[in-house]
């Protein structure tokens, strides 16, 4: 039996705005939202000066299980997630083996059952993520998979992508795309442009992403099936999505924290911690991504949390694997870089209820009595410095080492259980 919790003295945030209130949690659900409650038997979580809102949902977590447990496990990744305010993580399917069958979906779901976040599973669109033939999407959907992607690569074959969208239509699932034309991006370790030319690092042009965004918008129009674009990073992509949405097409998209906080100039020291795919872009693209987040073109902030062991990030830049950690830093970066200290509703929209809607989870944009107590408490004023050694992830590959951030997740509640209290994981 879970103990009662009283989240006391905070400011409740949902789509209707903010209000000073306490939140009482009983039996894993929200039991009351009222100012100045007294609950003699409840464990008190102090929330003075903090925002209390629905738990965050990450549409893009690489939890590395099964197969790369030396980099991350569902346990360590979910602990990092909980510390970042997440109560739901969508596990990407580029594992070993890939999550491309009911059996692997079940394995990941079983591993996730005791995690510190709810683990949703993304299935692969094609067998082995090879881009050749369709994976059994209906069988996986029957187990609760709501989003499919070959993330790590995009589906190159136009006809196959069309068929996948058509087939997925009646399943009520969303296909998500890692947009990258492999022929045009081939060999590129960073954004192709002024910096890559100077550094002598093979680049991949923005157009490698944009061509696939363009194609999939066309295929969404052709098939009527929804498409979710993962980690959009260029001004051109944002502009195309803006136009497609205006035309009423069923398009959603996410941007990662690193694509609106870092530029390709970060690669100047040849540190592979700044190597990521899609690559860090120039300032104009970063500004366009920020604008897209502000005006609603980009629906959600995602992390693309991609743990890699330290030895792999000590390879030469062009040989190191792409990817960076994100779960523990995403909220503070979103808060600071998008200047949302005065707009907590927008912060929670980008990190919580918008991604929840894309994933087809129960609505969480209004906090009310009876809803599952997946909650996150944010202290928007506390400052901290990112120390890779102190991260809960099994890996250390944050690009923000030494960076001072403002805003920290104070408490996280998962199904009524306080999994993070005062910025420390409880298990």
């Amino acid at each position: 039996m879970l103990e009662e919790l009283l989240l006391r003295g905070g400011i409740v945030v949902d789509r209707d705005g903010t209000r000073a209130a306490d939140v009482l949690v009983r039996d894993g659900a929200v039991a009351a939202i009222e100012p100045d409650m007294s609950a003699p038997n409840a464990r008190i979580l102090e929330c003075d000066g903090c925002w209390i809102g629905p738990g965050f949902v990450d549409l893009h977590s690489h939890l590395r299980q099964p197969g790369q447990e030396e980099a991350e496990t569902i346990e360590t990744g979910s602990r990092a997630g909980a510390l970042g305010g997440y109560t739901t993580l969508l596990a990407m399917p580029n594992t070993t083996p890939a999550i491309d069958s009911a059996a692997v979906v079940r394995e990941v779901q079983a591993l996730g059952a005791s995690a510190l976040c709810a683990i949703e599973v993304a299935g692969a669109i094609t067998v082995g993520r090879q881009g050749d033939r369709l994976a059994p999407m209906a069988e996986m959907a029957a187990l609760g998979v709501r989003l499919f992607t070959d993330d790590g690569s995009g589906i190159q074959d136009n006809r196959l992508m069309r068929r996948a969208l058509e087939y997925a239509g009646p399943l009520g699932v969303t296909l998500a795309q890692h947009c990258e034309d492999e022929a045009l991006a081939a060999g590129g370790s960073m954004h192709e442009g002024e910096v890559s030319s100077r550094l002598g690092i093979p680049g991949q042009p923005a157009e490698a992403e944009e061509l696939m965004v363009m194609r999939d918008i066309a295929l969404a129009r052709l098939t009527g099936s929804p498409v979710h674009f993962q980690h959009l990073s260029t001004a051109g992509s944002v502009a195309m999505v803006r136009a497609a949405k205006a035309a009423g097409l069923p398009i959603t998209c996410e941007a990662t924290t690193h694509h609106f906080t870092l530029t390709d100039a970060c690669c100047e020291g040849y540190d592979p911690h700044f190597k990521v795919n899609p690559p860090l872009r120039p300032a104009d693209d970063v500004a366009a991504v920020k604008k897209g987040l502000q005006d609603g073109t980009i629906d959600a902030v995602a992390t693309d949390h991609a743990p890699h062991t330290p030895d792999t990030k000590e390879l030469p830049f062009d040989q190191a694997p792409p990817g960076m950690l994100g779960l523990e830093t995403a909220m503070a970066l979103t808060l600071g870089e998008l200047d949302l200290v005065g707009d907590p509703v927008k912060l929670f929209a980008l990190l919580s209820w918008n991604p929840a809607a894309i994933l087809g989870l129960p609505r969480r944009d209004r906090l009310g009595v009876g809803m599952r107590a997946d909650l996150c408490v944010v202290d928007p004023t506390v400052g901290w410095i990112v120390d890779p050694r102190k991260l809960a992830s099994r890996s250390r590959n944050t690009p923000y080492a030494g960076r001072r951030l403002t805003g920290r997740v104070r408490h996280t509640v998962l199904r009524g259980e306080p999994v993070v209290v005062d910025a420390a994981a409880t298990r």
Binding site: S196, G200, G269, E314, L315
Partner: protein
Amino acid sequence: MSTTHLRSIAELGREGIVEVLRVTDSMVEVSGREIPKVPALRGRTVVSLFYEDSTRTRLSFETAAKRLSADTMTFSVGSSSVKKGESLRDTVLTIEAMGIDAVVVRHSSSGVPWQLSQWLRPGVSVINAGDGWHEHPTQALLDAYTISKEHKAGTLEGLRVAIVGDIKHSRVARSDVACFTMLGAEVTLVAPPTLLPPSLEGWPVRVSHDLDEVLHDLDVCYLLRMQNERMSEALVPSMREYTSLYGLTARRADRLGEGCIVMHPGPMNRGVEIAPEVADLPNAVITQQVANGVAVRMAVLFHLLAGEVADA
């Protein structure tokens, strides 16, 4: 001493370049002696760490170090633990543990000298002997020295230099552009767009796609090696077409400006970027480039390491 490393030309700066070229004169004199050896770096240890084959550059560095009485070690990747999967960092820290003063590194990946310098203890110099497509600073220094000796002007100030060929993949071109322009030369890059870097923003150069248009107006014509694999990457249709548009044929060589010298970093593809007979013309200074390589590398080692000796 201001510099610890020589990873790029920019790191050396104009003043450093001028100083190295000045010291090179003394090193040429040393190399001409009956016993071409001085005790300047006695007790210092220089390791050459070559992840990419380059017997010429490696021998040039090792000869330079020996003429300055430094101890030298060669870490040859082919016969080493790297083949057994040892990481770059572990390899370097192992070598460092033996007690060394400088690492001369060549690697097919851009940026490796920067990574090494992060891991090594302060005081160990990293000398870039070529990293990926990025830089090859000692080549640029020996090129600048060769120009200053072989061109009648005696300086690079105001000289018109064309660098012709595969600029995109060339570490020599990136270092040469930085070095030559810092010394006051006007550099024109001559190549098809497919062999230029995707962006030249911020590069102090002019660009031409027509070698014939620039030929008559040159003081230095610098040809880069053209590799066969560029055809498979669809960067040029054929070597024949490349030669017809960008090769220094005998006919083109006739049209070079009065006093123009012809250079090449080697190894040459005779008949591709340079006609066989052109490479042997008196105004081709390609063997002088090689000859100056040792003296320039002596000057670089002296510049980076001799200060420490004096302090010790």
